[in-house]
């Protein structure tokens, strides 16, 4: 099942997913031997294969017309882990096969097309890239030695005592 520009297709299909972590051209080897990777983001690609031909020829034709529109991108909703992912992407390649049976009945089968995302699904901002942050600590005002904070479902909360027996370790 997938959606293109708001139109949902409940069809039997297999969907293959690829991910590419793209680097910009400014990446390269530093003098200390490390490689500087300027990560632009994670770009997903999908290949959709219809495993059964669509019976509704009109609907099939509409799908093909939609996929072959010469536009910069379509909005797709595709499977993603246990959820779906909405991405804007271009149909890079499309192929299908025309079949004529001895009875004279004709249909199209074997449709497959690849989608390449126009933008990254995951990307750091410039600020994040410059200074990679660790997981945030609580905002602590008027700190006092011995103060203790506990992380709960509601976030950080001040605690009256320090329950860890290891305090004597330091």
């Amino acid at each position: 099942m997938f959606t293109i520009d708001g139109i949902q297709y409940n069809v039997e299909c297999s969907i293959e997913r690829t991910a590419e972590i793209k680097l910009s051209d400014i990446s390269g080897m530093l003098m200390d031997g490390h490689i500087f990777n300027d990560v632009l983001g994670t770009y997903y690609g999908y290949e959709v294969r219809l495993t059964m031909p669509l019976r509704n020829k009109g609907r099939y034709g509409n799908l093909i017309e939609q996929l072959t529109e010469p536009v910069e991108g379509h909005t797709f909703v595709l499977p993603y882990n246990n959820d779906t992912l909405q991405l804007t992407g271009i149909v890079e390649a499309l192929e299908d096969v025309w079949v004529r049976l001895p009875s004279g009945y004709t249909y199209w089968e074997g449709l497959r097309f690849t989608i390449k995302a126009n933008g990254p699904t995951k990307a750091l901002t410039l600020g994040e890239a410059i200074s990679r942050g660790l997981t945030p600590l609580p905002d602590v005002y008027d700190p006092q030695i011995g103060d203790t904070y506990i992380f709960t479902v509601d976030g950080w909360e001040a605690a009256s005592s320090y329950p860890d027996a290891d305090t004597t370790a330091y």
Binding site: D25, I26, M29, M31, L40, T125, A129, P143, A159
Partner: protein
């Protein structure tokens, strides 16, 4: 990177209501290579070009044209000089420093006699004087000498040469006129890309600068004189020279001469010679690539690395940028001094146990002052932030290298969702009215 362009779409002739056009647009293929000429011989006009992705019609006559990075930090605020549509959805624009327009602004003959640098520069900028911000260290210096009828840019070049200043017109929305700052900024070894290029130019064996004196009076036939406002001034010239002590005795004579810059006089000629010697007497130029998110700018004095074991100090004459998410630039350094490096190891100790270390390379003889970082470490799901007991570590590099120890104490301890404060820094006042712990970098 993106660009913000604003223009007036229309003005209602009756109500006077102004309809603005424009907005923020993505760009690509940005060509950006700002430069300065620290010798003062020329006044480079910086510009950039890029493709602006939009179907809007961008007019040439815009109110603002601002180039920003992803953190919305300004890179340039130069006006547009060219705009051409290259496809249905993109334009190519060229934005050029205000200095370009000064080249079309004529200035009359003038005899400077104690006029301040600030006033003289404001005069060059004319109606755009508010653009020119002059460093207080040179604003009240005075000028003396003759200037012929010339463009405002040529006049500005002479003024800057006379006082040893240059113009910073990138990364800000004005033009900052300042003397060279000899504060050295380090480009770390681990931020420098492989294969810097070292160029050995011919030795400049001598610098010669001509100083001028103008005396009001009636010139004889043999005198050189100029006339300003109906008054004749007799011109006397004196050539002051400085030999290059670094040039070998057998180096072929190569004299770099500065003459016909009539704002050079007895008072400033020695300063000018000394300044020029910093660029001309070291004959080495180094070009290196580094990660440069605006930290290193044309005109800065930097300490970088030319080879694995050779450090270089030099002035950035030009910075050519390439953009990804971050920015990389090729810096062309002039007046370079090359020195061997030695390793510096800093051990971070907690209860005499090493919890971290950093290694540096610095030139022998270099006095370093490094901030001791907070160490944020997670081990066996226990996160601790260690605080240095001293803010900085200082020393002077010696041949063979140096090892220094810095003591740490625990500031924060986080284990199984429980955060414990072990030690705190001095509490600082926050603008929000609260006080914030200063233990996290």
């Amino acid at each position: 990177m993106f660009i913000e362009i604003d223009w007036i779409e229309s003005i209602d002739p009756v109500t006077g209501e102004v309809v603005m056009g424009g907005g923020e647009y993505p760009i690509k293929n940005l060509q950006f290579a700002p430069q300065v000429d620290l010798t003062g011989e020329t006044l480079p006009v910086n510009e950039y070009s890029c493709e602006v992705i939009t179907t809007d019609d961008i007019p040439l006559d815009t109110i603002g044209c601002l180039l920003y990075d992803g953190m919305r930090q300004l890179w340039s605020a130069w006006p547009m000089r060219k705009v051409e549509r290259i496809s249905d959805s993109s334009f190519r624009i060229t934005a050029t420093s205000w200095l370009y327009w000064l080249g079309f602004q004529p200035m009359d003959t003038k005899m400077y006699d104690g006029e301040t640098v600030g006033a003289a520069i404001a005069e060059c900028f004319g109606s755009r004087a508010s653009l020119a911000q002059v460093s207080p260290s040179i604003r009240f210096q005075t000028l003396s000498g003759y200037a012929p009828a010339q463009s405002a840019r040529d006049r500005l070049t002479w003024i800057l040469f006379a006082v040893g200043a240059y113009i910073v017109d990138v990364f800000r929305d004005d033009m900052y006129i300042r003397p060279v700052d000899n504060t050295q900024t380090e480009i770390p070894y681990g931020r420098t890309f492989m294969r810097p290029a070292i160029t050995e130019n011919d030795w400049v064996t001598e610098l010669r600068v001509t100083a001028y004196t103008y005396t009001a009076g009636t010139p004889l036939d043999t005198d050189t004189y100029v006339t300003v406002g109906g008054v004749d001034y007799i011109v006397t010239e004196q050539v002051i020279s400085l030999s290059n002590p670094l040039a070998p005795a057998d180096a072929p004579e190569n004299v770099k001469e500065y003459k016909d810059i009539n704002l050079v006089n007895d008072d400033n000629v020695n300063d000018i010679l000394n300044r020029l010697s910093a660029y001309w007497f070291n004959r080495t130029e180094v070009s290196l690539d580094c990660i440069n998110n605006k930290q290193y700018r044309p005109g800065d004095l930097v300490l970088g690395y030319a080879l694995d074991d050779i450090a270089v100090t030099g002035y950035i004459q030009e910075a050519t940028f390439a953009f990804g998410l971050q920015a990389r630039s090729r810096l062309r350094l002039i007046g370079c001094d090359l020195r061997p490096t030695a390793p510096l190891t800093i051990n971070y100790l907690y209860n005499n146990k090493r919890i971290g270390w950093k290694k540096y390379k610095f030139p022998v003889g270099y006095t370093f002052s490094l901030e001791n970082p907070y160490l944020d470490q997670t081990k066996n799901e226990r996160r601790r932030i260690y605080r240095p007991t001293t803010d900085t570590v200082t020393g002077t590099m010696v041949d063979g290298g140096l090892t220094v120890n810095v003591n740490y104490e625990i500031a924060l301890d986080l284990y199984q969702g429980v955060l414990h404060i072990i030690s705190v820094d001095e509490v600082t006042e926050e603008s929000s009215g609260g006080e914030q712990i200063g233990v996290i970098e």
